[in-house]
Symmetry: none
Subunit: 289 residues, 2 copies
DNA sequence: GTTCCGCATGAATCGATAG
DNA sequence: ACTATCGATTCATGCGGAA
């Protein structure tokens, strides 16, 4: 089994050590802009683009021509307004040479609760797709889920869902015929992903669920390809990458996080054998059949 | 019953005839770039911002200080890339004085079918919320939805008689858990809207379903308030507005669309002749002076 | 083994309070 | 005045213990 390459340091510096055109997929969720100036590593919204551009320049260099860069990000509210630094970042990255190919939406089914007089809960994040070339590797069939478990579960619940339709209509005015779109739901994915913030493992709280990098790794890489996460954090991307038989490179600036990820990959902790996952996948395939 | 005010002409010009601070909600879906080429001089993506800014300037003027502007838009793919004109528009509108308060996502559950080698189906559109003021009118209770937990897991087990029985249990001191969820039947929605592209519309295939303007009209206006659609098109916003007891103003540049909307209102509302509108515009110009 | 219930827990946001 | 900190608000989800 491959071992992940883990680097401790500022990714802006570490990336410079990496060769050109060597990475198939970059999947990362950088620290979002923060208002608190005293926080370690906190980047204020007005400095965000300036801070990120040198990094994205290196990412552009190390990415293979057919590779893809997926950037998970969401601007926060500052004084009642959404910050525009993400919009500015997209525009500036294009000037750097990136192609802004697509914007996926991650619909967070269980977003953070709260109530405010002028705002609803924020239930989505951006997954910005950047490429070097118009022709990039994309393995669509890997994520085209056939009508199996998932769809059957939805249909099984249909009658129950239908029962509440009338009540929903009365209360909210949202009462359209739910069965209509449930029946028409097909298995081809769109650019909207519906995931709860936690999917499988509730070991330690990650920024995003494992399903999220898993989906993009399936879509944009094959076995043996190289996946880079320059903001490794708790290592979700690396762990998923390794489990999926891809080669993982992770960079993390905070020693606490770095050591944690390192230990999770050390022999005594790697209780999660690859065979288990393969067996599980096989079982799932059998189920669908 | 109120009559909708329908204007035939370029909204950039027509809007100039309207008084300041007179509209509670602007809800519109302007022609996207590269569409309706013969209209508005054929807007290409690189000219889009330049074209829209004079219009948004007028919209800023006619909107009440506590009003809201909802802009339904989505950038098209041009040569394999998402165009950036929407991003640039947001940034430029802020310079005009607009506050970019929020970005809602319209998740199109039954989006246009198709398959491409390097792209999935586009299943979402932006609903950009702009305001003049940090304090704007918002009637959140009008759009509350049944709580997921309550609707999907609890209610199905209870018939109406069961509910009553359990309530009496509560009163007598037993079923504490029941009273718990009865109090929490409704939840506030998020900034992700799940609507099919067709809801109730029978005849004309509109750009958006009636549910879409309906939701925002409920959220940002009360009965008797004024709703403006400067790009009326087939008139979905106007029709919904009138039905909901709000006052509708619609502007359309294409005579075919204008007449179509006019006719849809004709037996019930006896649409005013164009001459009346022109005369009224003149009067309003005098007023502004 | 199921199913059900209670409970902790979030890439949140606002408004009030304190320095 | 301006900025950092804190409490209140809120709800989908997963986990653990109980029936």
């Amino acid at each position: 089994m491959n071992k992940p390459k883990l680097y401790l340091g500022d990714c802006k510096d570490v990336l410079k050590q990496m060769p050109d055109n060597s990475v198939d997929l970059i999947f990362t969720s950088p620290p979002y802009a923060d208002q608190r100036k005293t926080t370690y590593g906190g980047i204020t919204p007005d400095k965000y683009v300036e801070w990120f551009l040198p990094i994205s320049k290196q990412l552009l260099r190390v990415l293979k021509p057919e590779g893809t860069f997926i950037l998970n990000i969401k601007e926060k509210v500052v004084q009642g307004e959404r910050s525009t630094y993400v919009l500015e970042l997209i525009i500036e990255m294009r000037k750097q040479g990136w192609l802004w190919t697509e914007e996926f939406i991650w619909h967070k089914k269980n977003c953070y609760p709260g109530k405010w007089p002028n705002r609803f809960r924020d239930a989505w994040e951006r997954l910005l797709q950047f490429n070097k070339n118009r022709n990039f590797n994309m393995y669509q069939e890997a994520v085209m889920i056939p009508m199996g478990d998932w769809a059957q579960n939805r249909l099984r619940n249909l009658s129950e869902t239908d029962k509440i339709r009338d009540i929903s209509k009365t209360i909210s005015g949202f009462g359209k015929n739910i069965s209509h779109w449930l029946k028409r739901e097909n298995a081809y994915p769109t650019n909207v992903l519906h995931l709860a913030t936690e999917c499988n493992n509730k070991k330690h709280s990650a920024v995003f669920p494992e399903c999220l990098p898993e989906w993009f790794i399936k879509l944009f890489t094959q076995e043996g390809d190289v996946v880079l996460d320059p903001f490794m954090g708790s290592g979700t991307t690396c762990i998923v990458t390794q489990r999926m038989g891809r080669k993982s490179i992770g960079i993390e600036i905070l020693p606490e996080y770095f050591k944690m990820v390192q230990e999770s990959f050390s022999p005594k902790y790697s209780v999660l054998p690859l065979a288990w996952d393969i067996e599980r996948q096989t079982l799932q395939v059998t189920k669908i059949k």
